[in-house]
Symmetry: C2
Subunit: 268 residues, 2 copies
């Protein structure tokens, strides 16, 4: 098989990265994908950088063994902990994380240089988004809020009920006059409709998943490996545990049902 | 050291089991404890039985290497998946889980034989509580509700705010005339005050942690290994990841601050 016909590997700690896969499939309709969810060890968001890095390197190796032409780390925590390590390990293929594209998109979106970042504990504590935004906009005022409850709400499919509303209101309660809210966790795009209800109209919601899909498209073109011949359009799923739960909960994030036959259990 | 002076080993997927440790220390004030939290791999509640069993056996081995006189599996998911396996592996010491004591307590508490069980997805799906209660009360009407959001709320320390209230109301919304609510997850005792507010006065809240501490006390007496000589009263903590987070979040469940110096990082 020609390199351009190989699939793009995507990995995440579990199901949240399916929001990135969804954006990728929409932006790159002619590509195939292998998505790996490390469901045996999710969530990464409360684990240390060392542990997450170790897991991320394992995940990258599993995908490389399946032959891929590019790798997307569709997980904020893993991107923070391991992007540069995975890039060093795989010098011959583009490796794209979700942080830099999300931070860039926020920088391009804000007009008043005030940005609210919502993420997991680890992502917020890593200052990865804050650092990249500050590097581009030295006078920006950035507030970051650990919003772990949103992960649990999303996984229960509670994305538009009164509990989700109360939780979002809680996390937005310290918002001052930020004109941009950056969703720094792949679980959070499912709350976009509710966020639109809760936020003033001029506030923009920036979604790392969409920004990452744009960055991957660019990287494929730069490397001359975008699939311009036979379109593939296949997606295969690998999980380290609980294929049934992955299928059920994953549909929330993918935005469409997952075919249980496409989900393969692998050993980490 | 005489066997009766050895500590009691307690393990959990993370911090929730500290509610069990708290009950144990209160019921057994002369004993020492080694508590092991598998924080690198929490939560167990969304993982498959096979994976959880594999982890639980590893945790039991780590504690046995430290020399213990009894083992408490302070985690509902691990008890369901692995109690009988760990008992078979350790025939020479009492091994107590949280399910049977909790189920017994609910059986002894209910007057109208109607019980609501709140637990994680895996615990509820395992039917472990339901099966034991039904065996004792064949005509009992048992409703079990997966309440995963409560785990995230507890870990954020949101145990008495309006979001916790909305979540509990949601999980209690299908309650009919159950006179007993069984807390089938070690995270949930922190919600007892709020549950008392929300439930009619005649409804009893049964806490597996308290019931388990009673069962451990009985097992030590039966085996003649309760510490009746030099009281020890020490607790040492082992974690597989993030000692800092364990200390901070653990205090919610232990009900008192944890001393960071007492927390040791171990490799699983």
């Amino acid at each position: 098989m020609q390199k351009m016909q190989l699939p793009i590997g995507v990995f995440d700690s579990g199901m949240g990265g399916l929001t990135v896969l969804r954006a990728l499939r929409s932006h790159l309709p002619d590509e195939s994908f292998i998505y790996l969810g490390d469901t045996a060890r999710l969530p990464y968001g409360t684990k240390s950088q060392d542990t997450v890095r170790h897991y991320a390197m394992q995940m990258a190796r599993i995908l490389v063994e399946r032959r891929i032409k590019a790798l997307v780390i569709a997980c904020n925590t893993a991107t923070t902990a391991a992007l540069s390590h995975v890039q060093a390990m795989l010098p011959n293929i583009p490796v794209v994380g979700v942080i830099a594209p999300g931070a860039s998109a926020a920088v391009q979106t804000t007009k008043n240089q005030r940005i609210l970042v919502l993420g997991t504990e680890t992502t917020v504590a890593s200052h990865a988004y804050q650092g990249l935004i500050q590097a581009a906009l030295p006078h920006a005022c950035i507030q970051a809020r650990a919003s772990s409850l949103l992960v649990a709400l999303a996984e229960e499919g509670m994305v538009h009920n009164h509990i989700a509303r109360a939780a979002l209101e809680h996390y937005l309660s310290q918002r001052v006059d930020e004109d941009t809210v950056l969703l720094g966790c792949t679980h959070f795009p499912v709350f976009k409709p509710l966020l639109r209800d809760l936020l003033p109209e001029h506030v923009r919601v920036v979604d790392s998943a969409e920004a990452t899909a744009d960055a991957v498209k660019q990287a494929l073109m730069d490397a001359g490996i975008a699939n311009t011949t036979q379109p593939q359009k296949k997606t295969h799923y690998l999980v380290t545990d609980s294929a049934a739960r992955f299928g059920a909960v994953g549909a929330i994030f993918l935005g469409e049902p997952l075919n249980q036959q496409d989900i393969e259990l692998v050993d980490a």
